[in-house]
């Protein structure tokens, strides 16, 4: 019997084997990272740290990019076995990205799981803050960037606030009770409130 996690060089190391869901996300990130920075938020953060529930989509924040850069990313994703729900050509899909609408990617001949690609910029205060303050999480050799745990908890409690989100927040609060800091809750609450006004 071992502990579920430890902290090493500012990264939270989760002590478990990789799942098929991790492999899917890792494959997507391998391509995305060549073109852009990113942050994984919401359900996958809870699930990757042990929350016992399934998910259909993995939310990934990505800074807004121009059409040409998006076209290169789309092409490389397609060459690596992904398809985009919204279309096959950059001309079809980029309109969604430009308008800050989410687009989704899944593996060819699959619908789920899918990546919900969430374009952001600095006008999205809370999202941009978490994006610029990432927490590294590692499972075996798979490392990804997530929000600070306190931020993720508050965002689920204050903004998303569905039954599933409240349960996810409760999971994170209980699992990381020794890591989370009250002063960070105070700091992050102010930032999230800006988006709620």
């Amino acid at each position: 019997m071992q502990k579920a996690y430890k902290v090493e060089d500012d990264a939270i190391i989760i002590n478990r084997d990789l799942t098929e869901l991790d492999l899917f996300v890792r494959k997507f990130l391998e391509v995305l990272k060549k073109h852009s920075d990113y942050l994984i938020v919401s359900g996958f953060v809870s699930i990757s740290t042990g929350r016992a529930r399934g998910t259909e989509d993995i939310d990934v924040l990505v800074p807004i990019m121009d059409k040409s850069k998006f076209g290169s990313l789309l092409k490389e994703l397609q060459n690596n076995g992904f398809w985009c729900y919204q279309g096959d050509k950059a001309e079809e899909v980029y309109g969604y990205v430009r308008n800050f609408s989410n687009v989704r990617f899944a593996k060819i001949n699959e619908m789920y799981p899918n990546i919900e690609f969430v374009p952001i910029d600095e006008t999205k205060k809370a999202k941009f803050f978490e994006f610029t303050h990432p927490q590294k999480i590692r499972v075996k050799d798979f490392e990804f960037k997530a929000p600070p745990i306190e931020f993720e908890i508050l965002y689920k409690e204050m903004v998303l606030a569905g039954e599933k989100d409240i349960a996810d927040a409760k999971h994170l609060r209980a699992l990381f009770s020794e890591l989370i800091k009250n002063e960070k809750f105070k700091e992050f609450k102010k930032i999230i409130m800006q988006d709620l006004r």
């Binding site: 478990r16 084997d17 042990g50 399934g54 729900y85 999971h171 009770s177």
Partner: protein, 67 residues
């Protein structure tokens, strides 16, 4: 006796998991069985030829894609 809510179970599970990583094995089984089930449902719904077109038509019908 107080009736436990769903979130109380979530909290109990997380507290137990914190010191017992063997629970991750059950979680892995749960996640992978859900993935397998959902994959099988949609493969049956949309045969592999024209999967994308059929999937997009379905997504338009349920409002996830613009018409």
């Amino acid at each position: 006796m107080k009736k436990l809510k769903n979130t109380d179970y979530v909290e109990l599970y997380a507290k137990k998991l914190k010191n017992d990583n063997s629970l991750f094995k059950q979680q892995k089984m749960l996640i992978e069985s859900q993935l397998k089930a959902s994959s099988s449902v949609f493969r049956n719904m949309f045969a592999e030829d024209n999967f994308k077109e059929k999937a997009r038509a379905y997504l338009r019908n349920i409002g996830l894609l613009q018409k």
